[in-house]
């Protein structure tokens, strides 16, 4: 898929995220919009996964550590044919499998997550198994910057470098906001690049909404032989909807009818601009 096609995909995904959160009257809008470009590039450019052969032992793995932004994952999986998109009409509704955090009941989800600070350890274990089996698959996990204070992340980071897991790539969705306020005010984890480097990782910074930078970063993996890779993706919470961007209330805000219509209109206009560019 070309960069332009991927950019158009992101517009579609943003509209779908909004649609299903709007219909469900629940969801994590801001964080889903900040990480969607990362998931788009992972699933449509980088990872080897096939909905018709999802149990293949050779598939690349994606584990979403910041599980609350599951809407981003669901719309991407649906578009890759893991399940009919119409299933998402049931999102968060009574007895739906499409609950507000990733669950393996949904085809394509590797691990149940949602409690923060779990994805990296799960990814480390999966990557260790890949090394033991001498398989070429890679393991990807998206972390939120708000979840980094969980100590389990740092235990996992240590073990990833100890075991030289260059088949592991973590992507930090650094949107700088968490539920209580700016991440730097709640518990400052910067300079996060230096911390991971000190833990033995190879780190790159990218604009997390720039398709070209994302594809190039993923194409360059591993950044160093024998080292786990971290991509710090600088993102904007609520990205793509002007009145949601960098606004704390959209962490798990749900649009009202007018806000929804305005958001869709913005995205439609942006999509048209992209198409004519």
């Amino acid at each position: 898929m070309s960069e332009k096609e991927l950019a158009q995909k992101s517009v579609e995904y943003r509209k779908k995220i909004l649609k299903y959160i709007y219909q469900a009257k629940a969801g994590h809008t801001g964080g889903s919009l900040s990480c969607i470009d990362i998931l788009n590039v992972l699933y449509n450019h980088t990872m080897h996964v096939d909905a018709t052969d999802f149990t293949s032992p050779d598939r690349d793995r994606y584990i979403q550590s910041k599980g609350h932004t599951v809407e981003a994952l669901y719309v991407v999986l649906a578009s890759r044919g893991f399940f009919p998109e119409s299933d998402l009409e049931t999102l968060c509704k009574y007895q739906s499998h499409y609950i507000g955090h990733p669950t393996r009941k949904v085809h394509g989800v590797e691990q149940n997550t949602g409690a923060l600070g779990h994805g990296l350890s799960l990814s480390v274990g999966t990557a260790i198994a890949g090394k033991l089996d001498k398989k070429d698959y890679r393991v990807f996990t998206v972390l939120g910057d708000g979840e980094l204070p969980e100590g389990s992340n740092w235990e996992a980071a240590l073990s990833a470098s100890h075991y030289k897991l260059d088949n592991l790539c973590a992507i930090l969705d650094k949107n700088t906001l968490q539920i209580s306020g700016p991440t730097a005010d709640v518990l400052n984890t910067d300079p996060v690049d230096k911390k991971f480097e000190a833990f033995g990782w190879e780190v790159r910074h990218v604009d997390g909404h720039d398709i070209k930078q994302l594809t190039e970063a993923f194409d360059a993996l591993p950044f160093a032989k024998g080292k786990p890779s971290l991509i710090i993706a600088h993102t904007v919470k609520g990205k793509g909807i002007s009145f949601m961007e960098n606004q704390l209330k959209w962490h798990h805000g749900v649009p009202d009818p007018k806000q929804y219509a305005d958001a869709v209109q913005e995205l439609d206009l942006y999509g048209e601009t992209l198409a004519s560019a």
Binding site: P57, I63, R104, E110, Q111, N112, T113, G114, A115, G117, H118, L120, S121, L122, S123, V124, G125, T126, A127, I128, A129, G130, L132, D133, G151, S152, E155, A156, L158, S159, Y163
Partner: protein, 320 residues
């Protein structure tokens, strides 16, 4: 049956040594057996395993949350993972990982809690695991096992390696008795070690030996015959056996190396009450306090988890 009871003083291996031996046997032919430890290679008796199968042991350092998360990740690829760590830290510090990464995600990790209960004795309450049954019983999709002797330990490890479900196995430190010639074992089926018609003592793990000693004393000194059950599986509990026992309408005593809250005793009591059984009933365990200082045996003696203590409880319950 008496012949085997008379053998209870004969020291066999520790259950951990049996665990290690079984793992080595399995690993001879199964490269999917993976041990993950948190600096527990020595205390888990896994040094020989590590020497023989260096590619099948993963060390994560003293980091229990990561231990369980990593184990779940490895298990998700189809390997048979044994995550080994002191029971107190494994089940408290990594409880959320046990709940989410192992049980909820159905990654079939065998969680091996070593030096459980008050095995660490005088090291104190930080190192005692008297909460593990209680907290783990509330987690869906997890089998909870406390083997009472080498046979049960061997069988539990073998079954854990075969099952597709997550399992928690709890081991103590001491050498174990040979309790019964009965050679049948499956998760969720209590083993009747001894049969008697005056009362039933349902014990688990390392307390089963003491229940057997008490049964012998009751018989020899008081002419009372006790049934002794090793309820090695705390969850799923053997409700069929419990119903049969309760239907005899005789007193029931439960014994465990665990808080009296939330363990074997309360699990049995809950079932019995809800099914309209009204047997005289007593739970022996560690009361709601941080334990006295002492060895495992001294702590057992202090709280009546002993030949004399169980005997006295039985006599009181029978009104003797």
């Amino acid at each position: 049956m008496d012949a085997t009871i008379d053998n209870i003083a004969v020291a066999q291996q520790t259950n951990l040594e049996v665990f290690s031996g079984v793992l080595q046997l399995l690993a001879e032919t199964d490269k999917d057996i993976i041990v993950v430890t948190s600096d527990s290679r020595g205390s888990g008796k896994l040094v020989p395993f590590g020497q023989k199968f260096p590619d099948q042991i993963i060390e994560v350092g003293i980091a229990e949350q990561n231990l369980v998360g990593v184990s779940a990740g490895i298990a998700s690829t189809g390997k048979k993972v044994f995550a080994v760590s002191p029971a107190c830290f494994l089940t408290a510090r990594a409880l959320e990982q046990i709940k989410n990464d192992v049980a909820y995600s159905n990654n079939p990790v065998t969680l091996v809690g070593i030096s459980a209960g008050v095995s660490y004795g005088a090291l104190g309450s930080t190192h005692h695991s008297l909460h593990d049954f209680a907290v783990l019983r509330t987690i869906h999709n997890l089998i909870i096992v406390a083997p009472a002797d080498n046979f049960e330990a061997e069988q539990a490890v073998k079954l854990a390696a075969e099952t597709d479900l997550p399992v928690y196995i709890r081991f103590g430190k001491k050498s174990m008795p040979l309790l019964s010639a009965e050679k049948s074992f499956e998760f969720g089926k209590g083993r009747v070690i001894r049969e008697g018609s005056d009362l039933t003592i349902i014990a688990t793990g390392e307390t089963v030996e003491h229940a057997c000693r008490a049964a012998r004393k009751l018989e020899r000194e008081h002419n009372l015959a006790a049934t002794v059950v090793s309820m090695h599986t705390i969850k799923p509990l053997d409700y069929n056996l419990l119903s049969d026992i309760a239907a005899w309408d005789k007193p029931i005593i439960t014994v465990e190396e665990h808080s009296v809250y939330g363990g074997l005793g309360e699990a049995c009591a809950s079932f019995l009450i809800q099914n309209n059984f009204r047997n005289r009933f007593k739970i022996i365990g560690i009361p709601d306090e941080y334990t006295v200082t002492g060895s495992q045996q001294e702590i057992f003696n202090h709280y009546g988890i002993s030949e004399d203590g169980i005997t006295q409880t039985a006599l009181a319950l029978l009104g003797e």
